[in-house]
Amino acid sequence: MAESTNGAQQDARPTGRMTLERVNTPPAQTWNYLRANDITLTVPVHSRKGDVYFALPRLFEGVECGMGQAVTTWAESQAKDAHYVEVKAGEKRDEPIVAQEDTGVMVRAGAEATIVICTPAGAPTQDTTAALVRIIAERESRVHVLEFVCGGSEQRLDSVGIIAAEDARIDVRQFFLGAGTTAAGLAVALDGNRARLELTCRYLGREQDILDINHVVRQRGRNTRCDVRESGVLDGHAKKSLRATIDLVHGSSGSEGAELENVLILSDDVTNKTMPVILCDEDDVAGNHGASIGSVGPEQIQYLRDRGLSVQEAEELYVRALFDEALICAPTPQSRAAVLARATDVLGSEVANDLVEGLGLGDAEEV
């Protein structure tokens, strides 16, 4: 505990705790007794008396973040610094931008950037870590967001907000693979005409893990597109809530929004809650969502058995697949290290090594 890669949370200033009541809420809620609308979190509060608060340009206050204003306020007050990154118009930036606790990224017109949000690698050494990331994507920009939650703390909060202007293309890939409590909210506003979002979210819940995910897509521009795919595996006593809202706002004519979730449940002790919401205030739009929840389908099982896998091996394949994909997507040594450390935890070192070697990462990089 004494040593930490991220010293900010560990300094000797007085620390209390506070409750973030009913956060990570969707735009439209439902019956409270289902306990699917929100999550209540207890988080540490470090006194910042006498500190100068570094803040992002005011512009970023207008960016809706997935976990809501209370989390934004808390995260801002706790972040040691506010990081502002700007990618110049037309610039294609190869080097990924690594998000800190409080980060704002301005991707100017026609530019391209990759933003990585990642937990510290390895076993939990901290109580709570968080990332607050706000992105403004100007017209015709391309933004890739990669989010890896792989442990490093007992509790992780990721709150992300993106505004996309005309013809901006956003893709977000989330991997929630960590142990403990993960609360993650993502809000994307497709404000400009023809703005697009592709969101894939992969998650793993095992043992006593708690996963609380909130996706909000506001389609405001004309002819916008959004495609949201969530899939995950739940085992042990894992509890997962996923809220996915597609909001087709008045004026978004010609827009299409689609959302699909596939969940594989491996244990009777799992609690799996899903709330796929479409809000529609416009007639010339198409919205659809689907969810399929359950065990691996009998057809899939038979296909996999015909190729030599037992039922259990078939189920394990789904877990391995999550890590394979996360590793393929991980663009930085830190994110690869975080995924691998978690893979070793979950799948054992033999499979983890196989993952590394198979992906051609191999010994070129010491992880």
Binding site: N262, L317, E325, I328, D354, E357, G358
Partner: protein
């Protein structure tokens, strides 16, 4: 006897409410190429699935032996590891599993194929080139969103990777355009050449057979094997169709009733 790889004896099977196969007997020797023909709905695909061990069908009598061992009671994964491969007519979509993870897992299951991940990648790359497949497909989900032709290529990729002793190709040629058909034919040839594996080709279309050295031809009508003969039988079917056999089957069926 010892060179008989697959021996099906007096096999009757069907679904819970409907018998489909009646007293089917058939033997395929090591490295041989057999063709199973018949009109639509004759039960050809059912036979393929029953040999593979599909629990959708129940065997009511008869036995299946593979490589000298009875496998009638074995589950599909056991039969697969023993060396039987069934190429699906409509390969199943498996969301959530990228092709790469899948191929790696099914390969590592077989002691004779175990290899380092690096070698494995190289091997998959080789086969993919052979089948004119790009490398991006490896990160896509198994069979999800692939065209019919691409799915068949993925089946061929698995065939060449797993090197089974017997491959049952269930209507692998159906619904393919000319280019995809030629790639699939190339895959089958490569399998014959590299693995010396036996083939049981289920089809009602003789085009795919033109480039194969067929050893035996079987004809199935209404769940009965009604004729067996050399490769030349195919030409006769090409010319006269299945009618000649359908009459025979009507008689056979009549006898049974």
């Amino acid at each position: 006897m010892s060179n008989q790889l697959l021996r099906v004896s007096g096999l009757s099977a069907g679904t819970e409410d409907k018998p489909i196969l009646h007293d089917v007997s058939l033997a395929v020797g090591t490295g041989e190429t057999h063709v199973l023909m018949g009109p639509n709905g004759a039960g050809k695909s059912t036979l393929g699935h029953v040999i593979m061990g599909d629990p959708a069908y129940q065997v009511t009598s008869g036995t299946i032996e593979f490589d000298g061992k009875g496998v009638t009671e074995d589950a599909a994964d056991k039969r697969s590891l023993a060396g039987i491969f069934l190429s699906y007519q409509a390969p199943v979509e498996v969301p959530g599993v990228p092709l790469y993870s899948y191929l790696r897992t099914i390969t590592q299951k077989r002691p004779e194929l175990k290899m380092t991940a690096r070698k494995f990648r190289a091997r998959v790359g080789e086969i993919a080139d052979q089948l004119d497949m790009g490398s991006s497909f490896l990160t896509r989900e198994l069979n999800v969103g692939f065209s019919g032709g691409e799915k068949k290529k993925i089946e061929m990729l698995q065939l060449l990777l797993l090197r089974p002793k017997l491959a049952i190709l269930d209507e692998t040629d159906s619904g393919l355009d000319v280019d995809a058909l030629s790639v699939v034919s190339r895959g089958i040839e490569a399998y014959r050449a590299d693995c010396d594996g036996a083939l049981l080709v289920i089809t009602h279309n003789t085009r795919i057979l033109e480039r194969l050295n067929v050893d035996r031809t079987h004809v199935m009508v209404q769940g009965h094997l009604v004729a067996e003969g050399p490769a030349s039988l195919i030409d006769s079917i090409d010319e006269h169709g299945f009618e000649q056999f359908e009459k025979a089957s009507a008689i056979a069926g009549g006898d049974q009733a």
